[in-house]
């Protein structure tokens, strides 16, 4: 059969055309196309990786953010608590101080009162002494006039003092 007989001329031409086609297409088509495909695949893979990384980073940042918020919240309550404690302490201290101050003042007042009292007593005593002296003087001055009466008077005094 003629169909099954390969013709040499056609084989030669096919070889030439195929070689030329392989050479031209490799140089002008396959290389740029395959390189473009590879590059784009790489770019896409990189973009996807970056997106994934960014997502993770975002999640990390969010949790970090939340942790910060929590911390801030804790700190705030801590500060509030501290302030309250401090307030309580100050108030307590002030109260204590006021109390002790008051006590001190009362004490002082008491002491002053005592002092004043003592001074008054002493004054009264002095006055009484002076009065006694004056009276005694007067009496003495009068008694010198009559001896008998003086003796009599002294005797009454002695008697009185003996009674004491």
């Amino acid at each position: 059969m003629e169909l099954l007989k390969p013709e040499l001329g056609l084989i030669i031409w096919t070889t030439i055309i195929l070689l030329a086609l392989i050479f031209i297409l490799t140089k002008f088509a396959w290389k740029p196309i395959l390189k473009g495909l590879n590059d784009r695949e790489k770019t896409i893979a990189e973009a996807l990786n970056t997106a994934e990384k960014t997502k993770l980073e975002m999640a990390a940042m969010k949790s970090q953010h939340e942790a910060l918020l929590n911390e801030a919240r804790q700190e705030r309550s801590l500060i509030l608590k501290e302030a309250k404690d401090m307030k309580d302490a100050i108030i307590g201290e002030a109260r204590d101080k006021a109390k002790s101050e008051g006590a001190k003042m009362i004490e002082e007042a008491k002491r002053e009162i005592d002092n004043q009292k003592m001074a008054a007593i002493i004054e009264v005593k002095n006055a009484a002494g002076n009065l006694v002296l004056e009276v005694s003087e007067k009496i003495l001055r009068r008694e010198l006039n009559s001896k008998d009466e003086q003796v009599k008077y002294i005797n009454t005094l002695i008697e009185q003092s003996k009674l004491n």
């Binding site: 007989k5 013709e7 001329g9 002008f28 396959w30 390189k35």
Partner: protein
Amino acid sequence: MAHGEEEPNHSSSTQNHEPEKEDGKFNAKKVILEHISDSHEWHFFSYPSEGGYKDVALPLPCILYNDVNGFSFFLFNKLHHGSVDGYSLNAEHHIGRSDGEGFYDLSITKNVLAMMISSILLILLFRTAAKGYTARPNQAPTGIQNLMEVLVSFVRDEAAKPFLGNKTDKYLPYLLTVFFFIWINNMLGLLPGGANVTGNIAVTTTLAIFTFILIITGSRKHYWMHILNPPGIPFGVKIILVPVEILGILTKPFALLIRLFANMTAGHLIVLSFLSMIFIFAQMSPIAGGGISLFSVAFSTFIYLLEMLVCALQAYIFTMLSSVFISEAIVEHSHSEEHH
């Protein structure tokens, strides 16, 4: 084929131009063989003229070599008017020598011209597609680049990478070229008046030889050891197996060339046979011819659509099997021996 479906009468004049001159009978075998064979002219159609038919055909350049005349260059239509440099047309309308000497026919035949046209088409298509990558690097593909990219990555990911692995880059340009060369020639061969390039055994032989050369040049020691001394096989079996394996070196590319040739030729044969039935029946009676034409056109349309699938399929199979055969030969280390 389209003109055959739409204008049966006109087509019949085109196809059985020669046989009608001889005996007035429609010769289906001759018509079909002429359609699927290579030719020195590109025949488009014939039209009735006074006393016969006139051909509308593009004469192609003949390049012939003979020890007596050396190289001869002339257009084929010169032979219609007589012999040139001792070459003349024989009874089968083929080039022969009147002195009976042998000669080499290196003519630009219909198939050669068709291959040149399809190659130029391929270069233009892929050049345009490739420009997209340099013009818009790392951007989404557009237009023709988009279409070609799907096909290129299909060949890379389905026909090459699974078998060749990290050697893919080395063989990919060949595999891509072969895939698109076969596909475009298959498709152009389906066009009415198109050349049956991939259904020509010389073309498929050349393609198979290319793959064979790649298998042999890429082969490693492991490949030859498996053929000449299959491990883990008893000696008695080896006596039978080794010759079979040695034959296998050749049968693999041979299967490639026969498969492509047979598939494409068969497709053309079926379509042409269905259409020829119209004219065979029309010679019996015009009514029978008209009736059978409905059936013929329906079936040939169906086969035509099937052939479009076969075009892509055969291109894929040839490419895929080429990469399988190459991958078998280039295996470096003998991991398969562990299984024996």
